[in-house]
């Protein structure tokens, strides 16, 4: 549809907001990465926010599961995060990485057994005393709209205690948002779209999930 001038004027004067365009599923054909052959949405080094060989590189990995507990092979995940100092990156170049610039954003597709992997750094707190987290958005065949969530780092337990989102959840649900740090320094974060261990998904102001009012 076309937004006409009257609608635009009303929106810009604050009289009436424009209604958001509906989302739709990403479908099965959003692309794949097969060695150097990458088509559609995935792109070379999309999941490498930093070179995995860097000494401070952190592996963020996990598996996406459906309501039967089966891993799903056709999901796409994106992360968006602050840098190690807690600064919000505003550098271009995510799609053509130069190997040095930290853009804060990455895209990964899951493999045949539902596993994704990013190479990134631990985000710093964006404000003093805040619990650092990585924002995650999930798309998949069979999933009719995007799902947002957060991956909290497990270390700063005092900050986690005070976090507004986490403290509004009961212990079981809260634990779905906190990554596990493994001995090799990597972060493990599984996504459960449905079921007993269902991940907490976030609804931000302005976006509707009609059957989850």
């Amino acid at each position: 549809m076309r937004i006409d001038q009257n609608q635009l004027d009303a929106a810009r004067s604050g009289d009436e907001r424009l209604v958001p365009t509906p989302g739709q599923t990403i479908g099965p054909f959003f692309g794949y990465a097969d060695g150097f052959e990458q088509v559609h949405l995935p792109f070379r080094d999309g999941n490498h926010l930093v070179n995995p060989a860097r000494p401070d590189a952190v592996r963020l990995t996990g598996t996406v599961y459906d309501g039967n507990g089966d891993p799903i092979p056709d999901a796409m995940l994106e992360i968006w995060q602050a840098d190690a100092e807690g600064q919000i990156p505003q550098e271009t170049g995510s799609l053509v990485r130069d190997g040095w610039t930290f853009t804060g954003w990455g895209r990964a597709t899951v493999d045949n057994v539902g596993t994704y992997t990013f190479s990134t750094v631990n985000p710093g707190p964006t404000e003093e005393g805040k619990a650092p987290f990585i924002h995650l958005v999930v798309f998949a065949r069979g999933l009719l709209n995007k799902l947002h969530t957060r991956i909290y780092l497990p270390e700063d337990t005092a900050a986690l205690e005070k976090d507004a989102l986490l403290s509004s959840l009961d212990a079981d649900r809260r634990s779905t948002l906190i990554a596990e740090r493994r001995a090799d320094g990597s972060l493990l974060f599984d996504v459960h779209l449905q079921g007993e261990k269902e991940t907490v998904f976030l609804q931000f102001p302005g976006i509707e999930y009609p059957d989850h009012a």
Binding site: M1, R2, I3, D9, A11, R12, G14, R17, L18, V19, P20, T21, P22, G23, Q24, G27, P28, F29, G31, V39, H40, L41, G67, N68, P73, D74, E78, W80, P89, Q90, T92, G93, S94, L95, V96, W105, T126, H135, R141, G142, L143, L144, L147, L165, L169, L193, Q194, E198, T199, V200, L202, Q203, F204, P205, G206, I207, E208, P210, D211, H212
Partner: protein, 271 residues
């Protein structure tokens, strides 16, 4: 390759890993009745349901617990930055990627990306992907026996202008069969991936073409229960976008959910 549409056992292709085998025998009438029942009980919804059983693949892939209302914090009030470093201007023309001209109807799709307050979304990444003029994707999981076009990959991207505008030159995609149910066909569509000024506005959707006879039969399109909301996904034929002896034209504006950022005076000069 011949194929009897009336006997699934005769089908000579298989993409069984992208579907729910148990569901493929349901008739279109069964799906229609299920959709009707859901639509009758709904009103005024602006987004798709994530739990929409007529789309069989959604059954085990939608959250069942309530979505958790959250206020966006710091990083979520910003989006990654993209620019000319990321995307070459030629990438918005899907008809110049091969050695020769792709087959099919050459079209231009043009429009604007706006937020709920009518502010243009500037210098942001727009990505599209689509089937070719025969209804076939370049994808190892698409085994529909329609021809691939060596001159068409179906993928393009661009960066929006200062007024939020985008434009792609491409080929009109064809409908294609899928196995949600028996004799299921997707209406022709182009997938769009969009970023806003806030990462909470990130979205992926599908643009459709006006007057498609498959609309009423398609559980993905119909997962949006309100006709007015569904119409927002349909482009308008626009003769001003068509050009003499070259292409037909479509116009489609996209509205992202409202920005939650505090905007400064001067950020809003939207004209």
């Amino acid at each position: 390759m011949s194929q009897d549409q009336h006997d699934p056992a005769e089908e000579s292709f298989s993409n069984s890993h992208v579907l729910d085998p148990a569901a493929t025998q349901d008739s279109q009438e069964t799906i229609n009745a299920e959709m009707q029942e859901i639509h009758d009980a709904a009103s005024g919804e602006t987004q798709p349901r994530v739990n929409f059983p007529p789309y069989r693949s959604s059954l085990y892939r939608h959250p069942t617990k309530s979505m958790h209302h959250a206020d966006p914090e710091t990083i979520e009030l910003w989006s990654p930055a993209f620019g000319n470093r990321d995307v070459h201007t030629l990438e918005s023309d899907l008809t110049v990627q091969g050695q020769g001209e792709p087959l099919g109807e050459r079209i231009v799709v043009r429009g604007k990306i706006l937020d709920g307050d009518g502010r243009p979304v500037r210098n942001q990444l727009v990505e599209i992907w689509q089937a070719n003029a025969s209804g076939r994707y370049v994808h190892k999981r698409d085994q529909h026996p329609a021809p691939l076009d060596p001159n068409f990959t179906g993928v393009g991207r661009t960066i929006t202008g200062d007024d939020g505008s985008y434009e792609f030159t491409t080929i009109k995609p064809a409908p294609y069969p899928w196995k949600n149910h028996h004799n299921a066909w997707r209406p022709a569509h182009i997938h769009f991936s969009l970023f806003g000024t806030d990462f909470t506005q990130r979205m992926i959707t599908q643009m459709y073409f006006p007057g498609d006879p498959l609309f009423s039969l398609d559980p993905i399109y119909q997962s949006i229960t309100d006709q007015k909301a569904r119409d927002r996904l349909v482009a308008t034929y626009d003769h001003n976008v068509s050009t003499h002896e070259w292409n037909t034209g479509y116009y489609w504006d996209i509205v992202l959910s409202g920005s939650n950022r505090t905007w400064m005076e001067g950020d809003t000069d939207a004209h």
